[in-house]
Subunit: 314 residues, 2 copies
Amino acid sequence: MTAPPFDLTLWTASHLKRVERALERWIPLTAPAGLAASMRYAVLDGGKRLRPLLVMGAREAVMGSQAESPTEQAMRDDAALRAACAVELIHAYSLVHDDMPCMDNDVLRRGKPTVHVQFGEAQALLAGDTLQALAFEILTPLNQDPAEPAMAPALQARLCQLLARASGHAGMAGGQAIDLASVGLSLTEDQLRHMHRLKTGALLHGSVMMGSACGPATATAQAALERYGEAIGLAFQVVDDVLDVTADSATLGKTAGKDAAHEKPTYVSLMGLERSQQYARDLLAQALAALDDSRLTHTHALRALAHMVVDRSH
Amino acid sequence: MTAPPFDLTLWTASHLKRVERALERWIPLTAPAGLAASMRYAVLDGGKRLRPLLVMGAREAVMGSQAESPTEQAMRDDAALRAACAVELIHAYSLVHDDMPCMDNDVLRRGKPTVHVQFGEAQALLAGDTLQALAFEILTPLNQDPAEPAMAPALQARLCQLLARASGHAGMAGGQAIDLASVGLSLTEDQLRHMHRLKTGALLHGSVMMGSACGPATATAQAALERYGEAIGLAFQVVDDVLDVTADSATLGKTAGKDAAHEKPTYVSLMGLERSQQYARDLLAQALAALDDSRLTHTHALRALAHMVVDRSH
């Protein structure tokens, strides 16, 4: 008897249900004066939720690797859910700020008006700032509800550590600064890769690391997942650049062709379309090889997510 | 023989030296593409550093309250220094974003051009975002340097918890949202107090709580310091409102009279100048009474800082 083939659609649906419900609960309805509305608008009901899925996939991969008591398992599942939501809040804040007139000046996101178009610039600025703080709130629960598993302080600290580094100067924000400074310049392949490793790669990689930090994981598994996260992080951006020239705005849910319009260096402008597509396939192969090396058995989700990143149409 | 009178100037100088040196070290020179320059410009060489001083004062107040081993003491001193710097980074990011054209559109801060005037709006937006992330990085050190005391993970988590809540939707950012929504409206005294309790009070209060979280502190002491922090937080804003009408721009180091120009409700516009000044003195008395109730003996610095907040001229 062989195992049934892994169904990513089913897996995604069940995990996203938990993530959406948690986001719904953790973005406070009581946030004052328009903040609740703008934060919810920025986060809820939209997006592929790739980062949360990577967190959940990584936690699932390491879950079976060592014995866990039911209490440990419940605590770690809760921690992974918190990590998944925190990462998505960081991603959402970066989109809100990135869309603002002083940055990309984008009016369309996920097929809806962007936050500053809908709520005004000042509110968009504040909503982004608050989403960032909320991510760290979610990672450091007050452990006051006896019905919920109390999250170990060391795990809280470790997740904050990973998230702050993935999103800060040596991660996402650093990459955005390089991006900003490189408009109209010609970059080498190495410089472009460095920019994207920070700008989009760091948070995707961070998602995998946060999921595996929820444990339990061996050093071998951690190192392999680290390589998986890096390959997926780069592949995502390569595919993004490809889609920017091959897809239309309706399929993308955002303005297509904007990189060329903004004179932004991309993989396609640098390597051409065909080599970029090949590079994406190479990175997929690296990610899958890393999973083979991990010696972990529950890697179906991460494997399928890697394929999804490279084969997506939007 | 009586103890020599407490000298706030000396105390401040010695503590600020440590804070400035730490900020200098922890704001990475290697942050990419203009980020280092704009972050350093926003933070270094300026500001009263009231929040870091409150952290250090609170740590000093609780320090002698229970026995500590030298190792514990070194770890907690390092933690307090990290907390002091983290709080200042959050404060600095809020000023950078607050000054932007879509918010207060201010061109002068601490006598210098504001960050967006100096570096452009996009860079100011990014610098603020990155300073927020850096605050949480500093609170979650990697503990890799054997020469530095390794910070207990539980303390890392607790400080992240306090900082995220003081700066997020139920703290500083929430207050800014209320502020934004209340321009041109008439608020009641209670509404104004609620706004300021969040907008400026939460981070000042949070500074005191972070200092006392570094421990060791009894429940009685914690509760008393909590009340001290609340009173000081409100007093600071009342005095700010008073100075906005009584001082000139040169003394303030920022544009005076801007609240009236922006039709912002203030304590002075609501209570009048004299009652506002009396209210500040009442809050000072409350803060000092809380210190008396704390049973702590090393409260000289917190006491002097409370006086400074109320008697300052800028």
